[in-house]
């Protein structure tokens, strides 16, 4: 039996300003991890990644990141991805500088 597939989200950086973005189920790029589509199937994950990589007018560096379901939507499981939802720890820059929900979609 094959190993259980770890759920994924598709993440990337916005092309112009580089902010971290996540692919949603309805094909938008959200600034919020919890709005991402949680992908539980490997083949579907590859499809979604390909479709993300094709959107090179909007994003750069798309990849699949491990995630898990949470009460408000998908949550990161690795600290690197947690940091990406916030910004650096030495200044209140990046996402943490903005109040949640205010970020425009790409």
């Amino acid at each position: 039996m094959s190993r259980r597939f770890t759920p994924k989200v598709v993440t990337a950086n916005a092309l112009i300003e580089g902010d971290v973005v996540y692919l949603t189920e309805d094909d938008r790029w959200s600034r919020h991890h919890h709005e991402a589509e949680l992908i539980e199937d490997e083949a579907h994950a590859q499809m979604r990644l390909l479709s993300a990589q094709a959107q090179h007018l909007l994003v750069v560096g798309a990849y699949l990141a491990d995630a898990k379901a949470g009460p408000n939507g998908p949550e990161p499981t690795h600290f690197r991805e947690t940091f990406r939802t916030r910004g650096p720890s030495n200044y209140a820059h990046g996402k943490q500088a903005k109040t949640p929900k205010d970020g425009p979609h790409v």
């Binding site: 560096g61 499981t77 600290f79 690197r80 650096p88 720890s89 030495n90 820059h93 996402k95």
Partner: protein, 556 residues
Amino acid sequence: MYKYNDFDEAFVRTRVAQFSQQVARRIDGSLTEDEFKPLRLMNGLYLQLHAYMLRVAIPYGTLDSRKMRQLAHIADTWDKGYGHFTTRQNIQYNWPKLSDVPAILGALADVEMHAIQTSGNTVRNVTADHFAGAAADEIADPRPYAELLRQWSTDHPEFQFLPRKFKIAITGAPNDRAVTKAHDIGLRMVTNAAGEPGFEVIVGGGLGRTPLIGQTVREFLPEADLLPYVEAVLSVYNLLGRRDNKFKARIKITLHETGKEELSRMIEERFEEIRGSFSGADQALLEEIRAAFAPPAFKTAPTDAHYAAQARDPAYRAWADTNLARHRNADYAIVTVSLKAHGATPGDASSAQMRVLAELAETYGHDELRISHEQNVILPHVHKGDLPAVHAALKAAGLATANVGLISDIIACPGMDYCSLATARSIPIATQIAERFKELDLEHEIGPMKIKISGCINACGHHHVGHIGILGLDRAGVENYQITLGGDGTETASIGEKAGPGFAYDEVVPAIERLISAYLETRLEPAETFLAAFRRLGPAPFKAALYPEEGNRNAA
């Protein structure tokens, strides 16, 4: 200060124009990211965790007030009001927008700066002793040679596709402040029996995955032979260097696999072949360059103010003790401005601080500034009579921290707060150590101490050559920090030894504290530094301090 010649100017402007078009074509979709990525990297533009990052070269770490003000202007206009100085004597902007990068490069070109060859498999920014042209122990200013090497290597057709990146460091003094033994080529100025200046040529040093101290392939190279010899090293490397395996592609591996004797023989052979083709034009150019680096007109004035301030003001005295170095002119001092205020990010300077530094350089420092690989800023030529005024201005700008060379003067790479290659954070480890030892009020008691932190195996934070090195790793999805002991980046270079198992994020500061207590208990006298004590005693007492539970287990 050295001025670009017309060729340089035209070259940089052309590159800016080309890159502007490439950015426009990336944004309108005519270039894919796969096509664009090598182009942006050639222009110093990286994609990091939270944003793009633009890496700007500061050749041999030298700036003047005009350049520094422009760096401040860029930080304010297109970034978040600060810049990060790195161990490569570069400045990095952490938040540029892709669409603004052409304008930034244009603004850099206005002050003869650029971001070319800060990436890729080329000869990178040549780094130099940050006290160049000022140090009392210097044989000659190394920067004219660094500039000669820069001009020769920039866009050199033979060396644009080396097996891997190539770093050259140069120092004009026997005391090595440029970590020459950890570079692909290290050039250390020495004199021969006749008193003539030349270079000890060290090849194959490097940190990263396989840390190695370079080996001397030539004890004494006459200065006139510098360019043909360096070209010989590069062309032998270009031929032998492995292109099949990225991790084995640096010249340090070539040296290891070929052997020093055979490599030296091949270099000498190639050198003899090409030497004749260097018609002396390089020497004429060197003379020209040297004129541009002529020392400033040092003034003669009373120095009393400095001594009076030292006698009167303990804060000034502490700063003078740690942050001043001996200048070749006895009435002058070299000022190291610490970018390591306790709790602040090592190497970061706000635009306001950059402007203060520019102003001070202009008013009191013969308009010269340097960036050190230790992530501090140097005012290389300050008359002693002006030091109290300089100190006061620095203090007002939050730049008078008296900690150069002490435990809080930590090198830390950006780590996982910014860098996409990182396996753990480094900045918060640095700030926590600095704050803890400030709280303990121990740093002057501890004395000379170099802690260096990297956020991954690439070792941009030089952790292998830290007296205490800290390497951040990802162990099964948790940040974990490996400690190395006894590293040294100077002329007595050594690679630190791994102490043992790594520490969790919140265990690092207590571990360092135990280490320091062990040192304070075992040193023979206050003058015996941590490194000296480590060399005398070996790792045992320090390991015992780091892993007390092991001792307990053995005793049980």
